[in-house]
């Protein structure tokens, strides 16, 4: 037996071969753990500061923001948030963003699932070239496609609709989804497919009833990524919309008027754009680390 747990056995081994006593070693370990906790705490503190400042400002009146420097709100106010929730032109921005993001997630996952299955299970003519070409789309800068997109969607009458943005975001989301899903699918043993066919399952039946439930955590991670990249992208969303489907990020720019910038409302709107992300990340937190490695480690 070569199994040496990090317990007594390991301790015994260390005592035999090492000059430092167990007490010294424990002390050293505790010190290094403390050091890493302090460093991590410092990083998290610095990372949170800008976000804290945004929240801080969103709870202040404009006169307080522009007045003296205060580290926390002196006269706590929720007016900035109420202004957003009471004005349709504001909260519709969130609705618009949500709509095209969910449309994009639905379309992408529907076409990416079968494609990823094909890449993970079969060899076919041109499969490697196709896969590489897909990856290049992931890397295509949206700025390159701005002009043609604008003209294409304008000419087919899709300009300023949610579906236009949802389709445009497929450009980078479909390749990403296929890349992640392929990794998860390849980790499912092939014997399962074969057994299902021998048992007389048809392909669609097998795929929906057996295969998809097996990789559902992979699908969850994929959906998280689709949400994330569609939610944060604004260059395409801005170009393809005018009024009806404008994303919240664009509506936020309206806070600058002739009388200056309405900092409080801008900050409150900013805070509200972070909330959906936090909710999504909370639900998939246990799968995130694996998904960030794109299922490949």
């Amino acid at each position: 037996m070569y199994r040496i747990e990090n317990t007594q056995q390991g301790e015994k081994y260390n005592t035999i071969f090492s000059r430092t006593t167990p007490a010294q070693r424990r002390k050293r370990n505790a010190r290094s753990r403390l050091r890493s906790r302090v460093l991590l705490g410092l990083y998290l503190f610095l990372m949170i500061l800008p976000i804290y400042w945004l929240i801080n400002m969103s709870l202040q009146t404009n006169s307080e923001i522009l007045g003296s420097m205060t580290l926390w709100p002196q006269n706590l106010t929720f007016d900035n948030y109420l202004r957003i929730f009471n004005n349709p032109s504001w909260y519709m921005g969130y609705v618009n963003s949500m709509m095209y993001v969910s449309m994009n997630m639905l379309i992408t996952i529907c076409v990416a699932l079968p494609a990823a299955y094909a890449f993970s299970r079969y060899r076919f003519i041109g499969d490697k070239h196709l896969f590489f070409w897909l990856l290049t789309n992931l890397m295509a800068p949206p700025a390159v496609f701005l002009l043609p997109y604008f003209q294409l969607y304008y000419s087919v009458g899709l300009f300023d609709t949610h579906i236009a943005v949802a389709l445009a975001h497929c450009l980078f989301n479909i390749p990403l989804a296929i890349w992640i899903l392929e990794g998860f699918m390849s980790s499912v043993p092939k014997e399962i497919d074969e057994t299902a066919y021998i048992d007389g399952y048809s392909f669609p039946h097998f795929f929906i009833k057996i295969f998809i439930p097996m990789i559902r955590s992979g699908i969850g991670v994929t959906l998280f990524f689709l949400f994330m990249f569609s939610w944060v992208e604004l260059l395409l969303a801005r170009t393809l919309t005018a009024t009806n489907a404008q994303p919240i990020g664009m509506i936020m720019t309206r806070t600058s008027t002739a009388s200056g910038i309405d900092w409080g409302t801008l900050a409150a709107a900013g805070v509200l754009t972070i909330v959906p992300g936090i909710l999504v990340v909370y639900f998939v937190r246990n799968h995130i680390a694996k998904g960030f490695a794109l299922g490949r480690t």
């Binding site: 260390n14 990372m47 800008p50 496609f145 296929i178 944060v232 990020g249």
Partner: protein, 295 residues
């Protein structure tokens, strides 16, 4: 188990994806190619110009400067974010509620829309109402991102580090989590130093995810647009105007179809070249590790 079955009917499974991606990638790309060799004066007035636009773009000193700036920016943030990300991944807690709390906190910057990131930093760094601007002023440091190009650069790099280091950290964290505990125990028995553990166990296991991290970071840094646009508007002067912004100004702002199309193609080819180099590197590394596998 790894050998795949030859089956050309698999194309049927790929077809819906292909139709969609063709609609969102190939048709627009064809339009761009079309414009890049034409002079468009109106709906029915077009002239074939050959490579004229390409020549004028390649000779444009402002664009060359933007390109050099872009390369410098990408290399700088990679040099900062990769070591920092590895460092954070190493000190992140391994299990328990702390691990998931840190994970959620660390993902926060990634989930903020890119122009909101710009707004946050604009607020944060302003001398009159921002914490950082105010703090620096109290310390007696002259800091102004709208006047001083150096300050603007430093702020944009700081903002990008804040925004994207979490991605590198999470990739590395998941890479570290996949190292079996037995490796560490073997190292402990050999009395390996911390550095040796990092150099001979952790780093080799991380190469795979690091290639993905560097690839994603490089590509995204090339596409950076909304953050500097909101923060500095590309100024002062053109000191923080990167490639995407030059392109967007040219295409949408000035409606220069031909030159901006030619610019797009050159831009895309650069990205394609880099991604091809990375892609073949990844595939080679996977082949070395697993001789029977492959892409």
């Amino acid at each position: 188990m790894n050998n795949k079955v030859q089956n050309n009917r698999a194309w049927l499974l790929v077809l819906p994806m292909l139709v969609l991606v063709a609609f969102s990638a190939i048709i627009p790309l064809m339009t761009v190619v079309n414009y890049s060799v034409q002079d468009v004066l109106g709906p029915n007035a077009r002239f074939f110009t050959g490579t004229e636009w390409f020549e004028s773009i390649l000779n444009d000193s402002a664009l060359r400067a933007a390109f050099a700036r872009q390369i410098l920016f990408s290399l700088t943030i990679l040099a900062i974010q990769v070591p920092l990300g590895i460092g954070i991944a190493l000190i992140m807690p391994k299990r328990g509620w702390q691990a998931s709390a840190v994970l959620i906190l660390i993902t926060l910057p990634l989930l903020i829309p890119w122009n909101v990131v710009g707004s946050i930093w604009q607020i944060f760094t302003r001398g009159d109402i921002g914490l950082m601007g105010w703090g620096l002023r109290e310390l007696g440091i002259h800091y102004n991102i709208t006047r001083n190009a150096g300050d603007a650069w430093a702020t944009i790099i700081l903002m990008d580090v804040w925004h994207w280091t979490p991605l590198v950290a999470m990739l590395c964290y998941s890479g570290l989590r996949s190292i079996p505990e037995a490796y560490y125990q073997a190292a402990r028995i050999d009395r390996a130093s911390k550095w040796a553990v990092f150099r001979y166990i952790q780093l080799p296991k991380l190469t795979n995810v690091l290639v993905i991290a560097v690839l994603l970071r490089f590509m995204h840094s090339f596409m950076i647009y909304a953050e500097p646009f909101v923060l500095t508007g590309g100024g002062p002067g053109s000191s923080t105007t990167f490639l995407s912004q030059s392109l967007a100004t040219m295409a949408i702002g000035q409606q220069d179809l031909g030159p901006s199309a030619a610019f797009s193609i050159i831009y895309f080819l650069v990205i394609l070249l880099v991604s091809w180099v990375f892609y073949t590197t990844i595939m080679h590394m996977q082949k070395d590790k697993n001789p029977h596998g492959g892409a």
